[in-house]
């Protein structure tokens, strides 16, 4: 109670206080909302990255497996030997004699109806700009001009040193761009925003121009054209994706064959040559080193300067000169150095008898917490005793594989490696690089920086190293450099500094994982070489979405990919869940779910954070795991009801299988012979734990070969063919009669019915063979 005024003041004060409190409340709530969004964004990122790296690991694993077989396998017949040689040896075409004579492209006619750009050489700036414009209008460059451009590009590249030295005194500014991965929109945007290349405007593109995106060809054409037009100002570095082996898996090979049905083969063959002649690094003013991946503690720029870079056609495990040869060369160096440098292949039992091998593959997150002592890449195994152990366990494993593959063994490992190297020298005229040379290049193209000091094997990618700030410092000091620019890793903001701002990662493919997932960026080096970053996101759609919508879209995409992966491991998950369900109630706690999922998938993801998106909230925190797995399967299956566990195996090996088929089809003809198919399948089945008899394989091969001409058209096969297990139309897979088939010897040609839909996922069908063993 008081006078009128004070009451009014009092209530005014009360009002103000209420307002403040309301605002504070809303603030609190809003902060929580933003925090949850941020958490979701980070988790989504982790999902994409871990799946991406696991995929890369797969690729390397696969290649290692094949190369290993190649090294140690003794074919029992001449045919088998030839087949394997052809399949696994990197095709090195001796281009030089071909270069001298009139190249094939001149004989290619360009029809009058062709409305795309026509190139003539020497190229003029107008041609290059015309290319950009043409591609923007979705035109395609005629194969003749593609090949012509590639030949001219190679002629130019051959003159360049391994480490390109560039000076800023000629042009006012230098712009460095990172990975583009076939995303033409980003390249066009960069030129639009930053300006076209010119004598006053230098560019460096730091590798990974191709794969994944859909316009890799067009990007190469533009980049090569500008390089020919402005040779002093336009520079390209090789990335780990400028590699035909990697292209087989990540989409570039497919893109070329799709766009150039007649001349695709030749284009790919020519590209192999162009890629291996790309420079390895660019050095600006002797101060800023630009390379694609990173460095290691043994990176030696002088050595890199001197090697013949074109010898390294692919950075996947390649043939290196035999150690015995090298030893003889080095005039009696101690045996110790070379005895156990052969890393133990991942698929051999190693954790039991041997210490941490540098090639032990681990999950994305796990590696980061692995504080084991820094192992210098490739050199930690010691002693001949060790190598003897390796050899014996190798022999055992090899024997098993051989038996499963039904191939006979005669002779010893020594003979094997000798005959393998014979095959090498038959296959290619160029001398192979030494182990060290190869290692140097792999390090440059595949390594990633890490926060901890030291240098350890990059087990996630399967090649190169993780290098710490001390390694960077050491290198910069040794060569008197200011800082390093590299790419190779996607970053949410398109760039990232690390190692005390001595290493800059620059990544130019925006929306890399999904629309809205990340920005792209490029860096301009001004006077005194200070970096100035420009970011962008080349997609109009994202600008109209709210942040929450953007995050939701990307998240949904990541979750879809994750669910697919979960489904692909259904059987393993089921057995893992059962372990937590001792009383066989059919229920496990959500905590057990998280533990089980991680132990099967090894992705190092925050499963509890993701749980609400993957598992329907159940009462009292228990999960009926069998129905959960069934629901997963239901999502993945389309109209046709395909045998679930087989589909699962397929999914798990899908990209591998496609890669394998493309490897088999080494001349990119689109056909593989029945014989090749059978032989490859035998080798694969031991690797993939699928029990398949010879008869089944023959049956399958024959049933795929529609027109009975002894060849399987791979494109049709992969894209149009569909097999459905009649006996397994609906219901519980555990009751599927397929399960009983395993008891009978071989499969009794289950009734396959063929429906001829065209579907990109249809390669799946092939393998609807007898059940994998339980």
């Amino acid at each position: 109670m008081g006078s009128g005024t004070s009451t009014r003041h009092h209530s005014a004060f009360q009002n103000a206080e209420r307002t403040f409190k309301a605002a504070a409340l809303i603030q609190r709530w809003y902060r929580r909302y933003v925090a949850r969004l941020e958490m979701r964004r980070r988790c989504t990122w982790s999902i994409f990255q871990s799946i991406e790296y696991a995929g890369q690991q797969d690729q390397v694993k696969l290649h290692d497996f094949f190369s290993y077989l190649m090294d140690h396998f003794i074919p029992s017949s001449h045919n088998e030997r030839e087949f394997l040689t052809r399949m696994f040896t990197e095709d090195r075409f001796t281009q030089d004699p071909e270069m001298e004579k009139c190249s094939d492209y001149e004989s290619i006619e360009v029809p009058d109806s062709y409305t795309g750009p026509r190139l003539s050489f020497p190229l003029l700036p107008d041609h290059a700009t015309a290319l950009i414009e043409a591609f923007r209008l979705k035109q395609q460059l005629h194969a003749r001009y593609v090949l012509n451009l590639l030949y001219e590009t190679k002629k130019h590249l051959v003159q360049l040193p391994n480490i390109n030295r560039v000076s800023t005194c000629y042009s006012e500014e230098i712009t460095v761009c990172g990975d583009l991965h076939g995303q033409l929109d980003d390249l066009i945007f960069i030129f639009y925003k930053n300006g076209l290349p010119s004598p006053e405007r230098s560019y460096v593109f730091n590798g990974d121009f191709v794969d994944r995106g859909k316009d890799s060809v067009e990007i190469l054409m533009i980049l090569f054209a500008f390089m020919l037009v402005y040779p002093k100002e336009f520079h390209l570095n090789r990335g780990n994706h400028e590699d035909h082996m990697v292209n087989l898996r990540y989409g570039f090979t497919k893109e070329v064959m799709n766009k150039y049905k007649i001349h695709g083969k030749e284009i790919l063959r020519t590209l192999q040559d162009v890629f291996c002649w790309l420079p390895l690094a660019t050095l600006i003013d002797e101060k800023v080193l630009i390379l694609h991946g990173g460095v290691s503690d043994i990176t030696d720029l002088e050595l890199l300067d001197k090697i013949e870079r074109n010898k390294i056609v692919s950075t996947m495990r390649c043939k290196t000169r035999q150690k015995s040869e090298k030893q003889m060369e080095e005039k009696g160096k101690a045996n110790r150095k070379s005895s156990a440098q052969e890393p133990i292949p991942w698929f051999l039992p190693q954790s039991r008898s041997l210490p941490s091998s540098p090639l032990r593959l681990s999950s994305y997150k796990a590696h980061k917490t692995n504080r084991s002592s820094s192992i210098p890449c490739g050199g930690c195994l010691d002693g001949r005793e060790l190598s003897r152990q390796v050899r014996s366990s190798v022999e055992l494993e090899l024997e098993r594989c051989r038996q499963q593959a039904g191939l006979l063994v005669t002779g010893q490992k020594e003979e094997a490696s000798r005959s393998a190297s014979e095959a090498d020298s038959e296959a290619g005229e160029l001398q192979k690089p030494t182990q060290e040379e190869w290692r140097q290049v792999v390090d440059i193209l595949w390594s990633d920086p890490m926060a901890q000091e030291g240098c350890k094997a990059n087990t996630i990618r399967g090649g190169g190293c993780y290098f710490g700030p001390d390694v960077t410092q050491q290198l910069l000091q040794k060569y008197n450099l200011q800082f390093l620019i590299r790419s190779h890793e996607c970053k949410p903001e398109g760039y990232e500094f690390c190692h005390n701002r001595k290493v800059l990662t620059i990544f130019s493919a925006s929306n890399y994982y999904e629309v809205g997932s990340n920005r792209g960026a490029y860096v301009k080096l001004g006077p005194a070489l200070t970096p100035h970053i420009v970011q962008y996101q080349a997609n109009k759609v994202t600008n109209t979405l709210t942040m929450r919508q953007r995050i939701s879209r990307v998240e949904e995409s990541a979750l879809r990919a994750l669910r697919e992966k979960l489904f692909a491991h259904s059987s393993d998950l089921l057995s893992e869940f059962k372990k937590h369900d001792a009383d066989k109630v059919g229920l496990i706690t959500l905590s057990d779910w998280a533990a089980a999922v991680e132990s099967v998938l090894h992705l190092g993801l925050p499963w509890r954070m993701l749980r609400s998106q993957l598992v329907n909230s159940s009462a009292d925190n228990m999960l009926e795991y069998k129905s959960w797995l069934k629901n997963l399967a239901k999502e993945q299956l389309s109209h046709e009801n395909i045998q679930s566990s087989l589909l699962e195996t397929l999914y798990r090996n899908r990209s591998n299988l496609e890669t394998i088929f493309r490897i088999i089809d080494s001349d990119h003809s689109g056909f593989i012979s029945l014989d090749e198919f059978r032989q490859t399948w035998k080798l694969l089945s031991s690797h993939m734990n699928i029990d398949i008899t010879d008869d089944c394989i023959c049956d399958l091969a024959r049933s795929i070969d529609f027109n009975k001409d002894g060849h399987i058209d791979i494109n049709e096969f992969l894209e149009a063919f569909r097999l459905v297990e009649k006996s397994c139309l609906e219901g519980d897979t555990s009751e599927c009669p397929q399960a009983t088939n395993a008891k009978d010897s071989g499969c009794n040609s289950p009734a396959f019915s063929v429906s001829a839909h065209c579907n990109s996922a249809s390669w799946v069908q092939t393998i609807l063979l007898p059940q994998p063993p339980e």
Partner: protein, 134 residues
């Protein structure tokens, strides 16, 4: 009695795993530390809704004696477990939130303009008034 203790242990173990997961998402150098500026995000993503003032107090609790700008997991874990066990900083129920908006919308229009919202959200006095125990 023994049963309850077991149950509590299980709950605590589960909390520990949750907290560790959330923490690791922000542990960029994989050395069991996070930037102090991310602590708020971590705590909030675990379901809590502290005011800024409460957050500052929490940070003071988990910081080193000589603040390094980083929070270590070892210090964070027990404090966060306690918070979860005690169900502190519960999120705001929707109806209360709605009423808060209604308070700010004195003219009863059913909306707030962007400028108004910004004005309300960014005045600093809020912080001190939070301490009035809202």
């Amino acid at each position: 009695m023994a049963d309850e203790k077991d149950r509590e242990e299980i709950i605590v173990a589960e909390f520990h795993k949750k907290i560790k997961e959330a923490f690791e998402v922000f542990d960029h150098e994989s050395n069991n530390t996070v930037d102090v500026r991310e602590i708020g995000t971590i705590i909030r993503s675990l379901g809590c809704c502290p005011t800024e003032g409460e957050l500052h107090d929490l940070i003071a609790e988990v910081e080193e004696e000589e603040p390094t700008g980083y929070i270590r997991f070892e210090k964070f874990l027990p404090v966060m477990t306690e918070i979860l066990l005690e169900r502190r900083y519960r999120p705001i129920p929707e109806d209360v939130l709605l009423r808060a908006f209604e308070v700010l919308d004195s003219a009863k229009r059913g909306f707030l303009t962007k400028d108004e919202l910004i004005k309300y959200m960014t005045e600093e006095d809020r912080v001190s008034l939070c301490r009035l125990g809202w």
